[in-house]
Amino acid sequence: MTERSTLAGGATLAITGSGGSGAVTAGLILLAAVGRAGDYGLLGRSAGPQIRGGESAAMLRFGPQPIECMGDRFDLLVGLDWENVARFADELPLDRNSLILTDAQAEPIPEILLRSGAQVRSLPWKALADAETEGRVNMVALGMVGAMLGLPLDALESGARATLGGKGGRVLTPSLDCIRSGYAAADAASVPPSAFAPPVARWNISGNEAAGLGAVRGGVRFVAAYPITPASEVLEWLAPRLELLGGSLLQAEDELASINMIIGSSFGGVPSLTATSGPGLSLMVEGLGLAVASETPVVVVNVQRGGPSTGIPTKSEQSDLNIALYGLHGDAPHLVLAALGIRDCIDTVEWAVGLAEHLQTVAIVLSDQILGQSRAIIDPPGDRAFGAGERAHLHRLIAQDADPDHRRYRPMSDGVSPMALPGLPGGMYTAEGLEHGPGGAPSSRAIDHAEQLEKRLHKLTGFDYGPGWAEIRGEGDHLLLTWGSSAGPVFEAAERLRASGVPTRAIALRLLAPLQREALLEAIGSAGSILVVEQNQTAQCFAYLHSQQALPRHARSYARPGPLPLRPAEIMRALTDRDGREEI
């Protein structure tokens, strides 16, 4: 049950190198070139916690279908040098069918890689680079690998221009020379050329950029935040662009300030968002409770990393589900969503902004490092990928007229009361984190507490979220159930199981709270085997679904912590091995 590994029609490769070797730059150019040649692609990167100049690996998979996960293994390992590669070895699964490319003058290949049985080819990268003015080994290797993969030279050159153009001719010109030199020297006949489709209108975007774009598409015009890995790119993308849109980003002194700043801006009527990662979310939960109680819409994009505490900041995990669901004190109903892929970061964040605004509440969107810091070639998003038809009314209900009887927290049939914005005569009220009566005056009376609790819960549970709550693919008696970024490997596992004769359905949850229990139970139906897949140690989603009585008793859990990404093959094994019914 190994993954298809022919290079024709797609391939998986890793480029590794120590600080300054340009592994990631080569990967970025290759991704851009693959997109220009008409394929889809996914570029992940792995780095240690060093600030500058440490080792890094770029991992690229491409092919004629949208790429949603990195797969099981690598066809090609391009080693620009071998310093510290051992740190990545367990992230770079190779086998006998893999090919390691190395420079003829480089150090011997480390034993830890050779143990895989992969074949090795030594190539004259350094010699070719030395023959060029300001020659660069990574660019020579890139040209050669591009030729071996069957990429057109003009796609590589165009990819290099798009990636390096900002650095000026002093970088671009010698890079292009080296790419051409490597390309010309490649023994192209050694590898079957890929059949690339003609170029089409696609995007090259990272998950963190996609989250930022989803925010501004949803109407966000104010962001306050404190930098944290791996969420900072969301903020770096937004800062200059919000200004172009007439909004602004404020770098706060800490996460406590961030969340309260966006509560203030949202109180003023501007859709607002912050982005953070686990430790930052911990600091924000007090403020999130204030937003719930005061019915102030805010969105938090939490780009999860390995936890607890500062954990593994540069690598991925899905272990913040519990804090997102349960972190707030008191009965504090709020929305929890999870993006199912890089492209889905756009739609999920946009949807979250609309829902938070419409329901005047908190939405936490769970992304993670593997989504946030990977880039992909994607089809551009539609006007709205899901929740179609809902968009028209997904905005804040704002009180329009001066009304001397305006009562901010008056219970309404759907729980959503019109919100007066500062500037509206006659709408004056004090937003309140203390329990309050309908007019906003603090109250410790049981009847006010009961009424306001009910209002805040009912407006979320009574809303029709439409079809966006999950993505469901395939048919079959076997069911893989997952959430967030695990969707990519789960979808591929289900597809490969179906192809091998095991009818398998996949359900990926996008809206985790409020859980769409009835819809989920209906989607689960009478599935014979059910496996809940997630990337954390304690099966947080599995436990949550059971607590909501949303899972049959025979459902099983496959939960594994990060930082190693979930692979389709391990999910297939987990479904079938213990199931004992099928031989794959």
């Binding site: 975007i205 172009l244 849109l245 007439g246 300030a257 203030g264 004056m428």
Partner: protein, 278 residues
């Protein structure tokens, strides 16, 4: 100030809401509330263009008592809420009210950075050197030998926080001290603070009758500042360090760049999407 913010003549009582204060009889905060409404009336500010923001504590109840927009938030976070509001809505007059615990202990870091950021906010700290709402614990401004709290029966043993000195060091552009027992002087300082472009910090000595009855003596201890307001931070620092903490008036004022966002859109999200196209 924005012309749209000017109201037809309103009297101070028109700015009072119909919510009854929870404060103890004789609390200094009543005088602060009165000074706020008088200052708003003096400036003829339209009620709907004023936002009163607070955290938690006795003094933080103030927004509910003013007929304007308000946000009663959580402990220590009034300044971030106000900063976010002002960044999003620079057209509003944003006034922040709180106490010494809220502002200098749990919210201390926000205080430092609000001084640095110099947004156009007015920050009134009603300082009574005690936590009143939780029934009488030491605050950052409490003297080290005050041993009446069950939490610190031997006193705090720590030197008190010096609000004006710290505001100056952190870069505040307007620093003043008022007294609840001097309503006329307090109203005048509030008017100046609201009119000041930038972060205006106003420490108000506001006695707590319940937990610090000895503060009744403050009316004999306060005195007008004997220094004219300066824009020289070195001179101001010298004065503030030598001050007995009871000098009233405007101590320091300086025109510094005010943080405010530019708000003219020149693009749409669809324009931004082009950068991703291959």
């Amino acid at each position: 100030m924005d012309a749209a913010n000017i109201a037809p003549t309103l009297r101070a009582k028109d700015y009072k809401s119909d919510v009854a204060p929870v404060w103890c009889p004789g609390c200094g905060h009543f005088a602060v509330l009165s000074a706020v409404t008088k200052a708003l009336a003096h400036l003829r500010l339209a009620k709907e263009r004023v936002a009163m923001i607070s955290g938690i504590g006795c003094s933080s109840r103030l927004p509910a008592y003013v007929d304007a927009y308000g946000f009663h938030g959580i402990h220590g976070r009034a300044l971030p809420i106000a900063s976010g509001l002002k960044a999003a809505r620079p057209d509003l007059t944003v006034i922040v009210a709180g106490g010494d615990g809220d502002g200098f202990s749990i919210g201390g870091n926000h205080f430092l950075h609000a001084c640095r950021r110099n947004m156009d906010l007015t920050y009134i700290v009603m300082d009574n050197e005690v936590y009143g709402m939780t029934k009488g614990q030491a605050s950052p401004t409490t003297q080290p030998d005050w041993a009446k709290s069950k939490l610190t029966p031997h006193g705090t043993g720590m030197r008190p926080f010096l609000p004006t000195a710290i505001a100056l060091a952190a870069g505040a552009s307007f620093i003043a001290r008022g007294f609840a027992g001097d309503p006329t002087g307090l109203t005048k300082l509030l008017v100046e603070a609201i009119e000041h472009p930038g972060f205006a910090f106003l420490q108000v000595l506001s006695p707590c009758q319940t937990f610090r009855p000895e503060q009744k003596e403050w009316k004999h201890l306060v005195h007008p500042s004997d220094m004219a307001p300066t824009d020289d931070p070195v001179e101001a620092a010298r004065f503030i360090q030598a001050d007995d903490g009871m000098a009233l008036g405007l101590l320091y004022v300086r025109r510094l760049p005010v943080w405010q966002p530019q708000n003219q859109p020149t693009a749409t999200p669809a324009d931004l999407e082009r950068e991703f196209a291959l």
